[in-house]
């Protein structure tokens, strides 16, 4: 396995309070890495810095052998570094399939020149329908995301990100708010992604699902990496248990 | 000496802008509406002041009526124009506000005529006093005194009374305030009442200052007040007050030193655009 993404010594503080205080770890090609930690540990913040939504005060982000620290989020997406939002953000003005079509036609939207040159949406629609089918949303294609229950919105968020054909996908709590049956189904979909060539960094509080699907864990606490390694080893550590029970 | 005079005149105008801009800021802070129709309320105040004063001979009575009618108009605008469309995106209330402003302006033209009205008896816009070599008319002095009294009064009310604290809390964070038992709808009415009364008084004072009231008089002032609200960081009363004075002074200098390049009304916006290029969050706003 080779390293696909690496972050090196990321720092950021909000109003003098450090939310990330020297975070470093890397993700290998084809693995499912789970980033866990108590509430407020800085998981979302780290993910947003990796995605390029937040600019770190210090530190670097490497992706696919390039330093992408200076790139804005959309440019990282174009290089294959996709992300989803903790609170789902579908285009509410679009139908479900249109949401995925826009992502599936990402070569079309790369520049205004290309975008104005073409009209045909047939191919993108076919691709989008296939992604929807894969994520169990085939029947909801023409509905507005407003009408979808949360579980389906979460799937849509992942389907849209996958339609961009990313190499690495950052998922922020895709299971939050789902019933245990739904969570199981979505977790299975996520588990299948590395086999399809998409490396995953998963932030998730649902520990039973995390332990079921993750290849490796990174534990974050108070803006620092507390532990890293195989799930069983990490969860056995006293300091990790302490970090969770100390807060919860 | 010119220097000091420009500063003082700028501050006088700044006080007038502050009376306009505070109402806009309160409305923005609470409802996220760019309340362009505030310009119409300003002109309404001016028309009330001039017609009532001319009819009764009492300036004080004219201004009381101006403030009261403007306050009622402000509440009516909220209730009838904005409240039914608050659930739409900010674009919709803004367009409604523009439409309402045009209707008011054209309404004044139809009712009061296109050519404007003067006060029958207005010695105060020429009579002046010398203060350390700077001459100020009585109206200019009244403008400063009125704005300071009203705004300080408002500040005391907002800072010291229970209702005022609820009000401030609502403007800062409506949801939070609601959960502490403040009635947000009452605060909205208070907002429009107070902001509109201030605008009406400002309109009356500007009418006195120029001894002339015309249908379009609200335009330039309130566009600048909008610029001030943005400069002040949108929704911050303190920022708005400071920005009002800054803009008044900048305009007063600009009107002299840039006279060959830009007219007076352009200077405020030029300043706004330059500031936004450097500080996109406004002069005092936070990101």
């Amino acid at each position: 396995m080779s390293t696909l993404g690496r972050i090196d010594d990321l720092h950021i503080s909000f109003g003098g309070v450090a939310a990330a205080n020297g975070v470093s770890f890397s993700v290998e090609r084809g693995e499912l890495l789970a980033l866990i930690g108590p509430n407020g540990a800085g998981k979302t913040t780290v993910l947003r810095m990796v995605a390029g939504i937040l600019r770190p005060d210090r530190g670097r982000v490497f992706f696919d052998d390039h330093d992408v620290t200076a790139l804005p989020a959309h440019a990282r997406v174009r290089r294959g570094l996709g992300f989803t939002h903790q609170i789902v953000r579908p285009f509410y003005g679009f139908s479900t399939i249109e949401n995925v079509m826009l992502a599936a036609g990402h070569d079309r939207t790369a520049s205004p020149w290309r975008a104005i040159a073409g009209r045909s949406r047939t191919k993108a629609r076919q691709k989008a329908q296939a992604f929807l089918d894969r994520f169990g949303l085939g029947a909801q294609a023409e509905q507005s995301p407003r009408t979808l229950p949360l579980g389906q919105r979460k799937r849509l968020e992942v389907a849209r990100a996958i339609a961009l054909e990313p190499k690495l996908l950052l998922l922020d709590e895709p299971l939050a708010g789902l019933s245990s049956v739904e969570a199981l189904a979505v977790a299975d979909l996520i588990r299948a992604l590395p086999g399809q060539g998409v490396t995953i960094v998963l932030v998730e509080h649902n520990l039973s699902e995390v332990l079921r699907v993750a290849d490796r864990l990174v534990v974050l606490d108070a803006g620092k990496v507390l532990a890293e390694g195989a799930p069983a080893d990490v969860m056995a550590r006293a300091d990790v248990r302490q970090a969770y029970t100390g807060v919860l | 000496m010119l220097f000091a005079e420009l500063i003082v005149k700028g501050l006088v105008y700044g006080c007038m802008y502050a009376m306009m801009a505070v109402g806009l800021t309160l409305v923005y802070g609470l409802l996220r509406i760019l309340h362009i129709a505030h310009a119409g309320v300003f002109a309404l105040g001016a028309y009330m002041a001039v017609t009532v004063t001319n009819a009764t001979g009492s300036l004080a009575f004219g201004f009381v009526i101006a403030a009261a009618v403007s306050a009622v108009a402000g509440i009516a605008i909220y209730r009838l124009a904005y409240q039914p469309i608050l659930h739409h995106s900010a674009f919709v209330p803004m367009v409604v506000s523009i439409g309402l402003f045009i209707v008011m302006q054209e309404g004044f033209r139809l009712i009061f005529g296109a050519y404007g009205i003067a006060f029958d008896d207005n010695p105060w816009y020429v009579a002046h006093v010398d203060l350390a070599g700077i001459s100020l008319t009585y109206v200019e002095i009244a403008m400063v005194v009125m704005s300071v009294v009203l705004l300080v009064g408002f500040g005391l009310f907002a800072g010291l009374t229970r209702a005022g604290i609820g009000w401030r809390a609502t403007v800062t964070d409506p949801q939070m305030a609601t959960s502490f038992g403040v009635d947000p709808v009452r605060v909205r009415y208070l907002n429009f009442l107070f902001g509109s009364a201030l605008a009406g008084i400002a309109g009356g004072l500007v009418g006195l200052l120029n001894n002339y009231v015309e249908p379009t008089m609200g335009g330039a002032v309130s566009y600048k007040a909008l610029a001030i609200v943005v400069l002040g960081g949108l929704g911050s009363v303190r920022g708005t007050l400071i920005a009002s004075l800054v803009l008044g002074v900048v305009e007063s200098f600009g009107a002299i030193y840039l006279a060959d390049i830009f007219d007076r009304d352009a200077i405020g916006f030029l300043f706004l655009i330059v500031v936004l290029m450097v500080r996109p969050q406004g002069l005092l706003g936070r990101r």
Binding site: H85, F91, I116 | I85, I102, L272
Partner: protein, 278 residues
């Protein structure tokens, strides 16, 4: 075609180009502009100035278009930096800065504007048809954009900028594109207006003009090409219907803005279709 009809066609054509241009910025891309008349004016002043120097019509038109589009992109740059609500006030400000500038320029005729502009080298009727042809071309361009991937992407930017970034859309580039196209079209309209009116006054390009164009867009249905097309023609003809309609034109515009937003924020098009019509 009588001279009266020719002048009506010319005015309708110019208004169509203005409204369809603003529709690309506000309707397609969701960026508020309250200063569209400034770009109309930039195009007009550029074309008039060059025409007086003896430049031929194609050149002046092109220069007016390029000037308005270039400044439009600069203004678009502020839209990238400021909050959404600021943009309305900033674009309004651009209008005042433009007017405040030309009014003070002696070389642009100051308050009196530019007069004695040479004719287009065409009679009134063929010139009106030329304007109409431009308007049709702009309508066709609008429809093409709307149905192309550009329109799809504009929709996404207007709907949710953060979500658009998630799918790899360079939001800034698309916003600047919208501003560039929309304001350049306003410049074209300005250039065409110059040869039609043969005299330009600063006040033609004031805030009221910006609002009039916005009214055409909003009444038609922000984002709908057909809606804007129809409402522009209707609102331009309104003052011709009767003396009263001409006198109370602004009052009617204001009242329509309020009523349409209150009862059908999607404009005329919103009454016909339910969601994002072409």
């Amino acid at each position: 075609m009588s001279a009266y009809i020719a002048s009506l066609v010319s005015v309708i054509g110019i208004n169509l180009i203005l409204a369809l241009g603003l529709n690309i910025i506000t309707g397609f891309c969701g960026q508020v502009s309250l200063g569209h008349a400034a770009f109309y004016g930039l195009g007009a002043y550029t074309a008039a100035y060059l025409a007086k120097l003896g430049a031929p019509l194609p050149l002046t038109l092109l220069a007016g278009t390029a000037m308005a589009g270039a400044i439009g992109i600069v203004v678009g740059l502020t839209s990238l930096r400021v909050r959404h609500d600021f943009l309305a006030v900033t674009t309004m400000g651009i209008g005042f800065v433009f007017l405040g500038f030309v009014r003070k320029q002696k070389w642009l005729g100051g308050e009196l504007g530019i007069s004695g502009i040479p004719g287009p080298g065409l009679d009134a009727v063929p010139y009106a048809l030329l304007i109409a042809a431009f308007a049709m071309a702009v309508a066709a361009l609008s429809l093409w954009i709307k149905l192309s991937w550009m329109g799809f992407t504009f929709d996404a930017v207007a709907d949710d900028e953060d979500a658009a970034r998630t799918v790899g859309v360079n939001v800034s580039t698309y916003k600047l594109t919208a501003f560039g196209i929309g304001t350049a079209l306003a410049g074209t309209a300005g250039g065409l207006y110059v040869y039609f009116a043969r005299i330009i006054l600063p006040d033609t390009f004031d805030f009221v003009q910006s609002i009039a164009v916005l009214t055409m867009v909003v009444i038609g249905g922000t984002g709908s090409v057909w809606g804007v097309f129809a409402s522009t023609i209707a609102l331009t003809l309104l003052p011709e219907v009767s003396r009263a309609a001409a006198d109370y034109r602004l009052l009617i515009f204001g009242a329509m803005l309020m009523l349409v937003m209150r009862f059908s924020p999607g404009g005329l098009a919103g009454l016909v279709h339910r969601r994002r019509p072409a």
